[in-house]
């Protein structure tokens, strides 16, 4: 086997290994967290990054032909569609859970949220200044 083929094998294996590690992390995260909105963070990571790494590795294995282009199309499609799936699922959870306030904070409207964020920002700045002075 020539050197180019060895390099292709090594790099492809590397990408697939990274993808598998991401899948394992996703699976572990899904079982580790205790609420579905937290688990969705882990699942969304696997759906986009994990499968992209695996498919890029497989693209390197396959070389330059039509199959590679189709795999690239799969990656593009998944990068558009998976985050929307997560968004829709989290809306499902937020709409059908009666005691959502025990899991996360709910703001009534946009102005309250902005005020909270501005207050938190100001407090953070003053804390930093105190730390730097002392």
């Amino acid at each position: 086997m020539s050197a180019v083929e060895w390099i292709r094998l090594i790099i492809g294996c590397l990408f697939i290994l990274v993808g598998m590690v991401i899948f394992f992390t996703e699976l572990f995260g899904v079982f580790h967290f205790n609420y579905v909105l937290n688990r969705m963070h882990a699942a969304a990571m696997g759906d986009t990054l994990g499968i992209s790494a695996c498919l890029i590795g497989l693209m390197i294995f396959s070389g330059l032909n039509f199959t590679t282009l189709k795999m690239f199309l799969i990656i593009v499609f998944l990068w558009f569609a998976s985050p929307v799936s997560s968004h829709v699922l989290s809306r499902l959870e937020a709409a059908t859970n009666d005691n959502l306030s025990s899991h996360c904070e709910i703001y009534e409207d946009v102005e309250t949220l902005e005020r909270e964020l501005a207050a938190a920002g100001k407090d953070g700045d003053t804390e930093k200044k105190e730390a730097s002075v002392s």
Binding site: F77, F80, A81, V84, H87, V88, R91, L113, L117
Partner: protein, 319 residues
């Protein structure tokens, strides 16, 4: 005169927005992705009661449902006749099946020379690289015609069963789906990109039916799924701008009659040992294998319309 812009003008320029994004002062998501509150729906009790009373009055005056014995007789007769007809049909089909040859004999259709002929001479006689497509759309095109008609008949049957009257339709349409989330901004933006991609992919599968796995049925299912996604993202009002009952009628009519006429020409020339003008082409090219490409397109259109129609009928009671 100073060339400096006033504060209001500066806020409208691109540079202001760019530097604000760069510094991260304004959160880009606040105020942008929340859903607007839905309109409250007030149920109209008087109108519903009035409609019920009118319906009962009409049934009473015109049909006299309370005392009409012809109506009862017809009802009983219909029930018994339908049961008897089903039993007769079942018996007839079972008797026909029992005439088939037993398992393992030479004359059984699985073991005779037909399948070998299809595999060996499929490519040169039909011109299609995909011999399954060559078989269902060339050797056995009549069966596929029957299947397309079955899809059409199934849609019509479900339409008859689930159909609502005009007045019922308005009331039911609002009350059945009024709690669903509508006009999700993220889904709409992504659907504007993804639906054309899905439909183009479905067209690709249909056009490549004779060169590889695919064909009319799977490609039509993909196009139908793209239409269902559009419907979910944008709602019925926008989808009815381009897909109504009329569209469905004309698309199915043209596809099925084109299939019939095209295959009739093939049957006519084949049965009378005439030479047909449809070229077979070189295998592997996209414009090859005679009539298989147009027939794939016809079947794909029927399947796409059927899938969308089933979804719309179960959500809305019509389309």
């Amino acid at each position: 005169m100073s060339r400096k812009k006033t504060a209001e003008e500066y806020e409208k320029t691109f540079a202001f927005r760019f530097f604000r994004w760069l510094s991260g002062e304004k959160d880009p998501y606040i105020g942008n992705v929340e859903m607007q509150p839905q309109k409250k729906y007030e149920p109209d009790h008087e109108a519903a009661l009035r409609r019920e009373k009118e319906h009962d009055a009409i049934m009473d005056k015109v049909y006299d449902t309370g005392h009409n014995r012809w109506l009862h007789l017809f009802h009983r007769l219909y029930q018994t006749t339908s049961v008897l007809f089903c039993l007769f049909l079942i018996a007839l089909l079972l008797v026909t099946v029992s005439y088939l040859p037993a398992n393992g004999t030479v004359t059984r259709p699985v073991n005779n020379e037909v399948s070998a002929r299809y595999i060996e001479k499929g490519l040169e006689e039909t011109g299609a690289v995909n011999i399954v497509a060559g078989m269902i759309l060339d050797y056995r095109a009549f069966d596929t015609l029957g299947e397309s008609h079955v899809l059409f008949v199934a849609t019509i049957t479900v339409l008859i069963l689930l159909r609502l009257n005009k007045t019922e339709k308005d009331e039911a349409e609002v009350s059945d789906r009024r709690f669903e989330p509508k006009n999700d901004a993220i889904l709409q933006v992504v659907a504007t990109f993804l639906v054309p991609v899905i439909i183009i992919f479905g067209i690709y599968i249909i056009l490549n039916g004779h060169l590889g796995p695919g064909g009319g049925f799977s490609g039509g299912a993909v196009i139908g799924a793209g239409l269902v996604l559009y419907l979910n993202a944008f709602g019925f009002k926008k989808t009815e701008r381009f897909f109504t009952e009329k569209t469905y009628k004309w698309v199915c009519f043209f596809s099925l009659s084109f299939y019939c006429l095209a295959k009739s020409y093939s049957f006519y020339t084949g049965a009378n040992h005439l030479h047909s003008v449809i070229p077979k082409g070189t295998p592997g090219a996209i414009l090859s294998s005679g009539l298989i490409l147009p027939l794939n397109i016809a079947v794909g259109l029927v399947v796409a319309c059927t899938i969308y129609a089933f979804y719309a009928m179960f959500r809305k009671g019509g389309f």
